[in-house]
Amino acid sequence: MNSPATDARAAAAILLSIRQVAKSFGKLPVLRAISLHVDEGEFLTILGESGSGKTTLLRLIAGFEHADSGEIWMAGERLDPLPPYRRRVNTVFQSYALFPHLSVRDNVAYGLRVQKVAASDVEKRVDEALAMVKMTAFAASKPAKISGGQQQRVALARALVNRPRLLLLDEPLSALDANLRRQMQLELKSLQREVGISFVFVTHDQEEAMVMSDRIALLRNGSLEQVASPRDIYSRPATSYAAQFIGHTNLLRGRAEHGRARCHGLEFPTTAASGPAIFSLRPEHIRLADSAAGNDAVRFCASILTQSFHGATDLLQVECAEGLKLTVRVPSHGPLTGQHNFEFSAAHAIPVRDSEERT
C-alpha cells in the first residue's frame, strides 16, 4: 500500500486506521484484507455498488460486526475489541433509526442522558444541536410526525450532539428525493467543515461522492479499487473499473510497445509498460478536429451514429474505421451527420489496470 515515508508523514493527522481487515459471512468473503485510514477532519466516502462490502466496512467501524482478522485503531486506541457503546463513534443510519416513542428533543438527548451528562448541560447541548440542524421548532414532535428530510436532520443532530471523534453515515440521503438530496449534500458538507469532525460516508452514488468528499475509497467485491481525491480519481483512474464507475469514459483496449500505444488503428505515445494495455479516454477530451492541430494531438476520422442534446454539451456516439465505437462530448453544436475528423491529446489517454484480471 503506502510507502513507509508517506505513512510517517501522515501519521500525525491519522484518526482512524483500518489494518488488513477481512470479513466473511459464512463462506462468502465480503471484505478482503482492507487497509484504509481516515484523517482528522476528513470527509472520506466509501463508494461502491450494492454488495461491494461498503456497509459491512462501516458496521465494523461502528462495532455492529466483528472482523475475522485485522485491526481497527482510532487515535492510538484499538477499537475493534470494544462494544459499540464504548466507541467514540456515532452513526447516522440509512433509515435514520429514530426512537419512535421519544420526541425529537428526547431522541437528540438520548446519547447524553445514557452517558449521565448533567441535566443542565444536556439541555444546552440539545438546544444547540437542534438549532444547528434547524429543527428547534419540532423539538416536541414525535419522529412519525415529521418528514424524511427532517428525520434526517434529527438523526444527524442526535449523532453530533455527542461530539464523536468520527461520524459514520450509511447512505443517509438515499431515501430523499433528488432536489432535497442535492441540498442536503451541500449542507452536510458545510456542516462537516463547521464541526470539524471526520466523516465516513457510505454511498453507491458516484456523483454524491464527487460533490462531498475529500477522498473517495472505491470498493469493489470487497477490495479497494482506488483511494484518492475526487479530482485524482477522475483524472487519473487506476483501474478500468474506477474509470467507468467515476464518470463516463471510453475504454480503449490495445497494446503498448516501447512507449507507443496501438488501439484499433489509433496510435499515440504512452507511458504504459509494453504488453496488453487499456486506456481510459474521457468523452470530453475528444474534440472535433480543427485545421490547426497541436503536435501531440491524435487524429482520427469517424462517422456519427447518434447525437443527443444535454444543454451545454452534445453527446455523440461515433464509429471509427476499425469498428471502434466512442462516446464524445462536444460543446453544443448544430446537427452533425456523416464523417468528421476528431482528435484528442495523447496525455488524456490514461493507462489503467484491467479490473477483470484480478477476480
Partner: protein, 282 residues
C-alpha cells in the same frame, strides 16, 4: 366493482354466524337474568331485578368474584414474569435455536387442557410426585397438604396453562422492534441494560398489555382448574355459574352473574386496547 349478490353471498354467512352464536345467546342471557325460578323449578317469565338484588345482598358472590380476580391477578403477574424473559431471550438472543424454542413453547397449547390440569393433580397430591420426593429426601415427615386443593394449586396450574398466551403477544411485539433501533441505542453509548429499559421495554408495552389481558381474562373465567385442584378455598366465580346452571338449577341468577362478568371483561378489553393504542407507534 362486485355485484350486490356477490357481496351479500360473502358477507351473509359471517353475519349469520355472529347472530346465531353470539347475539342470540347474549340476548337470551340478558332475558334470563331478569326472570325468576318458581319453587316448582320452572322459569317464570316475569321481568324483575331480583337476581341483581340477590347478587348485592349475598356477600359470597362478591367475595368469590374478588378471590377470582386476585387469583387471576397473580396468574397474570407470574405469566408476565415468566413469559417476558422467555420472549426476550427468544427474540434477541436465541439465534439459530429460535424456531425450535418457539415450537417448544407452543407445543403445550396442543395438549388438552384437562391433561395438563390432571398432571398437576398428580404432582401436588398427598401421594403425588412432589410429596413423595419431599419425604424421600426427608424434608418433610408427612405429606404437605396445602399443595393441592388450594388457591396456590389453582394459581400454579393456571400460570402453567396461560403463560404461553402471555408469551405470544410479547414475543410478537419484540419481534416487531426494528433491530436498528437497538443498534442506534448502542451506538449512542447505551449499555445493553440501558437499551432494554429505554428502548426495548417501552416499545414492547403493547405486547405486555395484550399478554396481561389474555392471562387475566382467561384465568378469571376459568372453572376447570379450581374444580379439579381448588378445593373449597379455591372456588372461583365460574364454578358458581356452572353450579347455578347445573345442580342448583337457577339459570336466571347464573345469567345475571354471567352478564356482570361479561361487562367486567368487556370493560377490561376496552381499557387494555386504549392503553395499547397509547403505547404503539407503528
Amino acid at each position: 366493482m362486485f355485484s350486490r349478490a356477490y357481496k351479500a353471498a360473502i358477507t351473509l354467512p359471517p353475519l349469520l354466524w355472529v347472530a346465531v352464536f353470539l347475539l342470540v345467546p347474549y340476548a337470551l342471557l340478558l332475558c334470563y337474568s331478569f326472570w325468576t325460578v318458581s319453587p316448582a323449578q320452572t322459569i317464570i317469565h316475569h321481568w324483575n331485578l331480583g337476581n341483581y338484588r340477590e347478587l348485592l345482598r349475598v356477600h359470597v358472590y362478591f367475595e368469590t368474584l374478588l378471590r377470582s380476580m386476585w387469583i387471576a391477578a397473580r396468574v397474570m403477574l407470574f405469566a408476565l414474569l415468566l413469559g417476558y424473559p422467555l420472549a426476550y431471550y427468544l427474540s434477541f438472543h436465541a439465534g439459530a435455536r429460535k424456531d425450535l424454542l418457539y415450537q417448544l413453547v407452543i407445543i403445550p397449547l396442543w395438549v388438552s387442557y384437562l391433561v395438563r390440569a390432571y398432571a398437576w393433580k398428580t404432582i401436588l397430591g398427598s401421594d403425588g410426585v412432589l410429596n413423595t420426593l419431599l419425604q424421600y429426601v426427608h424434608l418433610t415427615r408427612h405429606p404437605v397438604e396445602f399443595l393441592l386443593y388450594s388457591p396456590f394449586a389453582v394459581v400454579l396450574t393456571l400460570t402453567h396453562i396461560y403463560t404461553p398466551f402471555a408469551f405470544l403477544p410479547i414475543y410478537a411485539s419484540l419481534e416487531h422492534i426494528p433491530r436498528n433501533l437497538v443498534e442506534a441505542s448502542h451506538d449512542l453509548g447505551a449499555s445493553p441494560l440501558q437499551t432494554f429499559w429505554r428502548v426495548i421495554l417501552p416499545l414492547s408495552i403493547p405486547g405486555v398489555l395484550a399478554g396481561a389481558t389474555f392471562a387475566f381474562v382467561l384465568s378469571l373465567g376459568d372453572f376447570l382448574a379450581p374444580l379439579l385442584l381448588g378445593g373449597p378455598s379455591g372456588i372461583m366465580i365460574s364454578n358458581i355459574v356452572v353450579s347455578l346452571f347445573g345442580a342448583a338449577y337457577n339459570w336466571p341468577l347464573g345469567a345475571a352473574i354471567s352478564l356482570c362478568m361479561l361487562l367486567l371483561v368487556v370493560g377490561l378489553l376496552f381499557l387494555s386496547e386504549r392503553l395499547e393504542k397509547k403505547w404503539s407507534y407503528s
